[in-house]
Symmetry: C2
Subunit: 150 residues, 2 copies
DNA sequence: CTCATTGCAAAACCTTTGCATGCGC
DNA sequence: GCGCATGCAAAGGTTTTGCAATGAG
């Protein structure tokens, strides 16, 4: 259970709906459920998990509806997509998406925490004459909660 | 075409076979072909590409043989597995696998180049009381060859 | 000869697509 | 009512599994 209001006083859930509206998406019951679900998650989730949750609220829900919505929400920048060893996963786009940053990822609960360190800010030697267009930096380990509960 | 002999004077191909032998794997024709193929690649390859190459040398080759061997070779540390946006890919394990290092990956030809920089060597601030067990750092861009040919 | 490895076939997934129906606006 | 979203069904692709046959050591 996590939900923090933002500057304008909207809950995360309301914020997502507002973004959908601004992008001219129709606010269907299914999308409300998706929004409510992601607003409440602190970690990554697979399409399967999303489906299993949603199916509790919408009998006869089809898998392609889940996939289509995940794709749509990613392309609108509302969700983020990650390629992990055990498959594709999704997560609410980081609140602080204005500032470039990286993540600490707990290997136990899969919660993620922003880092205020970027390796590219330091002197890094890249082979001569190479053009750098992007980078990826992730730190894995145990968050304080998981260190205690094991 | 790349193949550099190592300290003991073995070609990359011979080196792979030697590793297989040491791990008590049987040297089948199929595995020779796989070894020859990976010794000759500078980038990532998908299981499909491996299959398509091998099928030229072994009529009736089955896809599961490719998968089984890829898995085996990864678990023996001969190959490395990467999760990328367009699927799972494989590559010969870096020669310099004794020294910890990261990669520069060309987004055009997918060749990879070792970097002698590790962000964890610098002072990076991780949230208090977190235990760090691993990290991932990759730089993307264009290698000098691809910058010229475009 | 023995047992790891292969080929074959089938199954289990995951993801995408086309089309008629339904629902948000 | 119009048009986007959904449900349904089916297909395409990837990866895994069981089992009998084969070939390396």
């Amino acid at each position: 259970m996590k939900d923090h209001s933002n500057a304008i006083g909207l809950s995360t859930y309301e914020h997502i709906l507002k973004e959908m509206e601004e992008k001219n998406l129709r606010i269907t019951e299914q999308r409300k459920t998706i929004a409510r679900w992601f607003a409440d998650q602190s970690g990554f989730v697979t399409p399967r998990v999303v489906y299993e949750h949603m199916t509790q609220h919408h009998s006869g829900l089809s898998f392609d509806t889940v996939y289509r919505n995940l794709r749509t929400l990613v392309s609108l920048g509302i969700l983020e997509q990650f390629e992990r060893a055990d498959g594709v996963k999704f997560r609410l786009h980081c609140d602080s998406h204005h500032a470039h940053h990286h993540h600490f990822i707990c290997t136990s609960c899969e919660s993620i925490f922003p880092l205020d360190f970027c390796p590219m800010d330091t002197k890094i030697r890249v082979p001569e004459h190479f053009f750098v267009s992007g980078h990826r930096f992730e730190v894995f380990g145990l968050c304080s909660d998981c260190m205690i509960n094991t």
